[in-house]
């Protein structure tokens, strides 16, 4: 069975937000909800590094553990989904999530959060695959069509990878081999001595 994961190659991510608008486009996500966003550290300074983050579809998902109405479920592929019908908008999942993935509509009446929305790995929700109901509530179900998440498929530099963890790590490993050891090809500026991020993430760190 596949285990679906994202990996964002920080050495390639250029903070172009292609992944962000691809998600908006594919899932008709309303203004104010960001299923995916790009985070930059050392903004405007040597060492500036960006990564694109969404729901990580954690194997042992904290949102799932804390939800009082138990709306979360995990697909066979390891994708963490939820049933909006049961969501009471309490926001506990957001509190639990290390990545801030759960989102709440901002137009709901004052004091109310509205139903939680988050990245579905483009795998829809509990309704029938690709039914109008599923589309309206959760957006696309590309997985059911044999496709991969739109954000990764449209990433401008192929920084964002999505798919079966084994395949994703193969692609990444190949890149690391090309890049060579530490700063072989990737030192950011000669003025700087930061540790290179292009370690082989698929191997346990020494």
């Amino acid at each position: 069975m596949a285990k679906m994961k994202f990996l964002c190659d920080s050495k390639r991510c250029i903070e172009c937000n292609g992944c962000v608008t691809a998600c908006k486009n594919e899932n008709n996500v309303e203004w104010g909800i960001q299923r995916r966003r790009v985070v930059t550290i050392n903004d405007g300074e040597p060492g500036e590094t960006s990564i694109s983050v969404a729901c990580m579809h954690c194997t042992d998902a904290p949102c799932m553990a804390v939800c009082p109405t138990d709306v979360f479920y995990q697909t066979e592929d390891g994708i963490v989904l939820h049933n909006k019908d049961g969501c009471i908008g309490c926001g506990y999942c957001l509190f639990a999530c290390p990545f801030g993935a759960p989102q709440f509509p901002s137009d709901a009446a004052f004091g109310e959060r509205g139903k939680m929305d988050k990245c579905t790995f483009c795998a829809g929700g509990p309704e029938e695959d690709n039914s109008p109901e599923e589309k309206a509530k959760y957006g696309a179900n590309r997985i059911a069509e044999g496709k991969l998440p739109m954000c990764a498929e449209m990433c401008s530099t192929k920084a964002l990878l999505a798919g079966d963890a084994a395949e994703v790590s193969d692609i990444f490993r190949e890149r690391v081999i090309y890049r060579g050891h530490n700063d072989g090809a990737w030192a950011q500026t000669t003025l700087q001595n930061e540790t290179d991020l292009a370690y082989d993430a698929t191997q346990p760190k020494a």
Binding site: C16, G18, E48
Partner: protein, 954 residues
């Protein structure tokens, strides 16, 4: 010239709450609360999706259309899914050779064009300060009558036709022809303020003023120097190719920019230069190159003229002087020069950071000379990879929406008019009589360069006795143009107010509709986007791509060529304009226009790309190699994707296109080329033709001049022409022979139709023969002004007096101590009207800002997130948010230029027609920018001026 006859030569034809706004950190606290929530209220949530669900029944059949992103010149392929005429899906085009399915924020959001909620929906006019709806008929009638009246009173030159890089090739060509038939050269488009200095500087160096290689070819580069270019924001998918070279080819990347850009963050070396010191910087590199003998002697000897004079100038640019002028230290200069020398082939990439200067032509030529010295030209992995801006700015330039030339860079000479009137099948005399017949400064308007877009405001405001035409500009037509991308916003407002009539033809109302205090005399005509029509578009690498029509025109909008038809008929020259172009259902047939382009564009080889060939390429994206762009098997094996121009001869001759310019390692018939013989054969006793260098399989084993009937006869090749070709080729040359025979025979003998010459490092026809560093008009370095002064004022350039010295002489560096520069954001394009009207993009950038170094902010007494006034040296000021960041150096501030809809502190959002205001508005950076124009092309100066900043109170 030596000839070597070869026997039986086979003829070669054939943030959590920041919401992705992490970079603009202040927004997390302020902007999002103010802008975001307010704006969210403006749009019903889930609106799009509901609208679609209502119209498209589930299971409706899906049609897939192939089109090209309309936002930048990378030219990314798009699969558009259409159900019941509604654009319901967008899939990545994994098989497209430029982008492999990838997109930046803009390309990944193009499906919004299928909604167009904030579009201009029907023709409108301003009456007593209110927008009133009109019918198309009434609009064309009223505007047309006004134009005819102005023509009567002030001559045809008083109507200005400002076209667009957003046109398809066919529309661009038609627009230039249309202006010609109206009888004026007052026609121009964004290329003037984008890469005009590239086109002129580069063409005057080696023949053609275009990107020499391609995005894909960067895969083969061993070093990449970017100067004044930030592809991570402006051409993001280009970064896919650049990073690939970095990873796979260990390419060394040097990023030279006053700002530490997102591109710089991915470079091996970042070099910060003072804005406006490009020539000094490049000469500084060359100083080390010459000093150490790193230049390519053989290449220079065979293929370059005038390098000795450059050497002389370079010798003055010692490491000390370079540091003094550009701010870059000697050891960093040496290291960079060494990397470039040791990692060949290498490429140079430049954009607006280099071009948009008073000294733009000097900059672009210096970049070329650097590549010539290193012997990087005409090689895979080398070249000058000049990234153009808008999706079709290359095509619109080639097709001549320019005030100084007809399509194909033929110029405005009598010969050029003769050539085109023949192609157009119109009577030359009739055509000449369409123009004002008076002579101004020895030139008739038909042969005189028109007023460039950068200066149209002067065409309105200048004393008419000082302009080389009958009267001021009275009617301004902005057809696909964002005026906020132009400098001197305060004067522009005055100009708009002085006009008789302002006509805006555009999918959106634009900043021009709201920035002035006019109460009437403004017309808005809704044009549609390229997704609502079909046609071809030229990417930066010169590949021509075909676009399918995705959807029917939205609302009451019409395609540009249909609007041209309406106007031409009203104005009385429709018959001549469409003589050989069929009109079907009110629309000129696009393919007929493509064929007419093929018929006349011999200079740059737009002749072989017939609509049939273009469509075949479009259907076979998957057959082209990702590195070389060459078709591998399939129906178009051996051809290069999009037949990058020049694609010589006629379509039947089957030239594959030229993927790399001036590459002598291939035969011309297979896409090889030499430097063009454009500047004569000899100068001061020195040979200007190539020496011992020629393209593969050339029958002439040395340099040679351009081909003409006479040369063919001299070479004994005349009889290679067919009888029919002979009849047409007599008295003609490779540019004017409409049979294509001269080109065919030259190529058959392995020769470039345009000759084989040296590139020239000196341009004796330009104000500076050798590119010189000259201080910007507004400079804080007063100590350098006497040593590196600007030019003297000129009485007339492009019909207008143009100031240099008189501006530079005034020292404003005390009152305005800070350098102001400008640039792009990834989410927006150009003036931004279209992209700020796309909610998926607008949400990501809600606030106009100025980047200021922490030292300056502290000295000037404001903090990150404060409202500040940025006041330019000519008094124009904008109220924006301060973004305090080390991205910019002390003494330099940066503003993005995509915002509009505010003016000097006033929010004008309410002045847009109802429902047509963009989601995001803000101050236009160019309200604060100042005077300054390149003497060769009238490029505007947007990259260096002076300003002061004050914290805004209340």
């Amino acid at each position: 010239m030596r000839l070597t006859k070869k026997s039986d030569q086979p003829s070669a034809t054939s943030n959590t709450s920041g919401l992705g706004l992490s970079r603009r950190r202040f927004l997390q606290n302020s902007g999002i609360a103010a802008g975001g929530v307010a704006t969210a209220g403006m749009m019903a949530p889930g609106m799009m999706q509901q609208a679609q669900a209502a119209i498209v029944p589930t299971g409706a059949p899906t049609e897939v259309k192939r089109t090209i992103c309309t936002h930048c010149s990378v030219g990314c392929g798009v699969y558009a899914e259409v159900q019941n005429g509604i654009w319901t899906g967008q899939e990545p085009a994994f098989d497209h050779p430029f982008n492999l399915g990838a997109h930046c924020a803009k390309g990944a959001a193009v499906r919004e064009h299928g909604h167009g909620d904030r579009r201009l929906k029907y023709p409108m006019k301003l009456v007593d300060g209110q927008w009133k709806k009109l019918s198309w008929e009434q609009a064309i009638d009223e505007v047309g009558d006004k134009m005819l009246q102005v023509r009567q009173e002030s001559g045809p030159d008083s109507v200005y036709w400002l076209g667009s890089a957003k046109f398809s090739n066919e529309q661009a060509y038609l627009f230039r022809k249309y202006a010609a038939l109206w009888g004026t050269n007052n026609v121009d488009h964004q290329a003037r303020i984008c890469h005009s200095t590239t086109v002129a500087g580069v063409a005057n160096t080696w023949g053609y003023g275009a990107m020499t290689n391609s995005f894909n070819d960067i895969h083969f580069s061993k070093s990449i120097i970017l100067i004044g270019s930030n592809p991570a924001e402006a051409h993001p998918v280009a970064m896919q190719h650049i990073l690939r070279a970095k990873e796979r080819n260990k390419a060394h990347i040097i990023c030279v920019d006053p700002r530490f850009t997102r591109t710089a963050a991915h470079a091996n070396e970042y070099i910060r230069i003072r804005p406006g010191s490009d020539v000094a910087f490049v000469w500084g590199l060359l100083w080390h190159i010459f000093e150490n003998g790193w230049e390519d002697d053989q290449f220079i000897q065979q293929r370059v003229y005038g390098m000795e004079e450059v050497r002389e100038e370079v010798s003055k640019w010692t490491p000390e002087e370079v540091e003094n002028v550009s701010g870059v230290k000697g050891d960093q200069m040496r290291r960079a020069a060494k990397e470039l020398a040791e990692n060949r082939p290498g490429t140079i990439i430049w954009c607006m950071g280099g071009t948009q200067h008073t000294t733009g032509n000097n900059n672009t030529r210096a970049y070329c000379i650097l590549m010539l010295a290193l012997g990087n030209m005409g090689k895979s992995g080398g070249g000058t990879n000049i990234f153009r801006g808008h999706d079709n700015v290359q095509g619109a330039t080639d097709l001549g929406i320019l005030s100084h030339t007809l399509p194909g860079y033929y110029g405005l000479s009598d010969g050029a008019w003769k050539h085109w009137s023949k192609v157009w099948d119109v009577d030359l005399e009739w055509l000449q009589n369409r123009f004002d017949q008076k002579v101004y400064r020895k030139l008739k308007p038909i042969n005189n360069k028109g007023i460039p877009v950068s200066r149209w405001i002067d065409g309105v405001l200048e004393d008419k006795a000082q302009i080389d035409q009958k009267d001021n500009l009275r009617v301004m037509v902005c057809w696909g143009h964002a005026v906020n991308s132009q400098t001197r916003g305060v004067e522009m407002k005055k100009a708009i107010e002085k006009l008789d009539t302002l006509v805006i033809v555009d999918p959106y109302p634009t900043h021009a509709a709201v920035m002035s205090d006019r109460k009437d005399g403004v017309y808005l005509l809704p044009a549609c986007t390229q997704f609502e029509t079909s046609g071809s578009v030229t990417a930066s690498n010169r590949s021509i791509q075909w676009r399918d029509q995705v959807i029917e025109p939205l609302f009451e909008s019409k395609p540009d060529h249909e609007i041209m038809n309406l106007f031409a008929n009203k104005l009385g020259f429709g018959e001549e304009l469409f003589k050989n172009i069929e009109i079907k259902n009110g629309q000129p047939v696009i393919e007929d226009i493509t064929r007419e382009i093929n018929k006349g564009m011999w200079t740059i080889g737009y002749t072989g790309q017939s609509p049939e060939r273009l469509k075949l390429h479009q259907k076979n994206w998957h057959t082209f190699n990702y590195d070389t762009l060459k078709g591998e098997g399939g129906p178009i094996s051996g051809e290069y994707y999009g037949m990058p121009w020049p694609c010589w001869g006629t379509a039947e001759q089957g030239h594959p296109g030229t993927p790399i310019l001036y590459d002598t390692s291939k035969p011309v018939a297979e896409g090889g080329l030499t430097f063009r013989a454009r500047f004569g054969v000899e100068r001061e006793g020195q040979n200007l033709l190539a020496e011992n260098s020629f393209s593969k399989d050339s029958d002439i084993r040395d340099g040679y001049p351009e081909f003409s009937d006479k040369l063919l006869k001299k070479l004994g090749w005349w009889n290679d022409l067919t009888a029919e070709e002979k009849a047409q080729a007599e008295g003609k040359n490779w540019k004017t022979d409409l049979s294509g025979g001269i080109q065919r025979v030259a190529i058959k003998h392995g020769c470039s139709p345009f000759g084989n010459a040296k590139a020239r490092a000196v341009v004796w026809t330009f104000p500076d023969k050798v590119p010189l560093h000259r201080e910007p008009l507004y400079t804080p370095r007063r100590d350098l002004v006497s040593k590196y002064p600007t030019w003297d004022d000129s009485e007339s350039m492009y019909r207008l007096p143009t100031l240099y010295k008189s501006i530079q002489d005034k020292d404003l560096s005390k009152e305005y101590p800070i350098i102001l520069t400008s640039g792009r954001l990834v989410e927006y394009e150009g003036g931004g009207e279209e992209t700020r009207s796309n909610p998926w993009l607008a949400e990501l950038q809600q606030e106009m800002f100025v980047e200021v170094n922490p030292v300056d902010a502290n000295n000037m007494g404001f903090r990150d997130g404060d409202d500040v006034w940025v006041e330019g040296a000519e008094g124009g000021k904008v109220r924006v948010k301060a973004l305090v960041t080390r991205r910019v150096d002390e003494g330099v501030v940066f503003m993005p230029f995509h915002f509009g809809g505010h003016f000097q502190g006033k929010d004008l959002t309410d002045k847009y027609p109802k429902g047509a205001a963009p989601y995001v508005t803000g101050e236009a950076a160019n309200t604060a920018t100042t005077y300054g124009y390149d003497p060769v092309t009238q490029m505007q100066e947007t990259k260096v001026t002076l300003c002061r900043i004050n914290k805004a109170t209340a």
